[in-house]
């Protein structure tokens, strides 16, 4: 709770100090001696909650509360009046829009602490729900609604976003008849911020692909362009991402992959699983980074499997993480399943320490049937 900031507005020095002393055990506390000082403190940093006296020199509590109500960003700050005014008309005046509680002096400190905790908890729950809703909305927008349909191929996609997950994303487009580009990546960070950055980043990637595919179909060439944008654009200066860019030439049964710091995909077949496309440097770190293409041929019954780190970082009941090699082994057991990704996630969860994945989980499985 120490990260929550409380503003105490009280002209009486001893009481102000007492409240500051007691509340600072639980919260970051700032104080003001009247409404004017309080407005300055709010302008400097918006507190999570305000406890204010009513009768004060220069600007009283009513005027302070009215001023806060006039601005949309400050009108939502939980507000408690703590006052000696106990008469009915003052109480009625104090219970106005935007005032969450009215506590009269002398007061029980434990009661005040309990009301503060309750109001902050309610605010936190509301914020968490809003974040979850927004994060879910972003997650859905970062994923495709359908997959390419090509004769002799089956493709599967699985995405399980977590509220506190990261910025996983996946996209595909058909550059020319039978030629598809897949982008699969993870913007570094967690929670809503990462999802927002992932959303912005995907827009950059889409724009870059659209613009530069006229001049090159090399994933490495396109990756260099994306990296240049990330390292040169100040707006994206705090954005780092791992990205797998793959061109699938469906009629040639060929996939060309460029990997910028992402988990290595797997080539899964009857003869076993092998890791493909060693990665180059993660995006956004160095303008001098170089990227390489790796081309693989997809034989009959072979599948190309790309994923994000939520799968390999899942903690098993043994205490070990799944890891690249653990995943390579696990996919062998599910490669013939009607939906291999559904079977894979079930298998990993059954062997996990927790009943859910700890991070976002995303996978793309492309199998050549004949």
């Amino acid at each position: 709770m120490k990260d929550r900031s409380i503003l105490i507005v009280e002209d009486e020095h001893t009481l102000r100090r007492l409240l500051e002393y007691r509340l600072s055990r639980l919260y970051r506390v700032r104080t003001a001696a009247n409404g004017l000082e309080a407005l300055a403190a709010v302008a400097e940093e918006r507190p999570a909650l305000i406890v204010s006296d009513i009768i004060m020199p220069q600007m009283d509590g009513y005027a302070l509360q009215e001023a806060l109500q006039k601005q949309s960003d400050t009108s939502v700050i939980p507000f408690i009046f703590l006052t000696a005014k106990t008469d009915a008309s003052s109480r009625a005046r104090g219970r106005r829009t935007g005032v969450d509680d009215y506590i009269t002096k002398p007061f029980d400190l434990e009661h005040l602490l309990s009301r503060i905790a309750r109001l902050l908890e309610r605010q936190q729950v509301y914020q968490t729900q809003l974040d979850a809703f927004t994060a879910q909305d972003f997650s859905q927008k970062l994923m495709p609604k359908r997959m390419p349909a090509v004769p002799d191929y089956h493709s599967f996609f699985f995405n399980l976003p977590r509220e506190q997950g990261g910025g996983d994303f996946f996209d595909w487009n058909e550059a020319a008849p039978g030629t598809y580009f897949f982008t699969l990546g993870d913007v570094m960070g967690k929670g809503l911020q990462a999802k927002f950055y992932a959303f912005s980043f995907l827009a950059y990637v889409r724009g870059t692909l659209h613009t530069h595919m006229r001049t090159t179909h090399s994933p490495a060439g396109l990756m260099s362009r994306v990296n240049q944008i990330l390292t040169q654009d100040e707006l994206m200066g705090e954005t780092f991402a791992s990205l797998l860019l793959a061109r699938w030439d469906a009629y040639l049964n060929r996939i060309t992959v460029c990997n910028a710091g992402h988990c290595r995909p797997l080539l899964v077949g009857p003869d076993g699983s092998q890791l493909v496309a060693d990665s180059d440097l993660v995006l956004g770190l160095s303008p001098d980074a170089t990227f390489t293409d790796t081309t693989i041929e997809l034989g009959p019954q072979q599948a190309f499997f790309a994923y994000t780190d939520g799968l390999i970082e899942q903690r098993l009941a043994t205490g070990e993480m799944v890891g690249e090699h653990g995943l390579a082994e696990a996919v062998q057991h599910v490669r013939e399943a009607p939906d291999p990704l559904e079977a894979l996630t079930k298998d990993l969860l059954a062997r996990s320490a927790e009943p859910e994945f700890a991070d976002d989980v995303l996978g793309f499985w492309l199998k050549r049937v004949r």
């Binding site: 570094m188 990665s279 160095s286």
Partner: protein
């Protein structure tokens, strides 16, 4: 004198150089504190190079790594460096996966890193 920003401790070891002991984890829950610690060093002590001590570090997630990248991008215009020392196995896995060993030099011990940056 050591400067601490919440759970991280940065120890100046030479002109413009500080060691930051990462501890058990650098992840989404403490990455902001780590960044604040490094930025405090930069602002108050003119530190431009950081030795990150990963002894006993069990967790380095993508948020933590992203924060290291962010510090790296801040210090490189000042000819600063970010180097890794005493890299634990879990951290080594992340470094290999993201190929960031191409950017961050690694040293077996903090002392070796100090000599190299000294």
């Amino acid at each position: 004198m050591q400067l601490a920003a919440m759970s991280f401790v940065a120890e100046p070891v030479g002109p413009g150089v500080a060691v930051v002991r990462i501890g058990k984890a650098l992840n989404f829950s403490n990455a902001a504190e780590f960044k604040a610690c490094c930025q405090q060093q930069q602002a108050e002590r003119g530190v431009h190079s950081f030795i990150l001590d990963f002894t006993d570090t069990g967790v380095l997630d993508s948020t933590g790594l992203g924060t290291i990248f962010s510090i790296y991008r801040q210090v490189t215009p000042q000819a600063g460096q970010v180097v890794f020392a005493s890299v634990s196995r879990p951290v080594q896995v992340v470094v290999q996966l993201t190929r960031t060993y191409k950017v961050f030099r690694q040293f077996a011990t903090v002392e070796e890193a100090q000599e190299a940056l000294g």
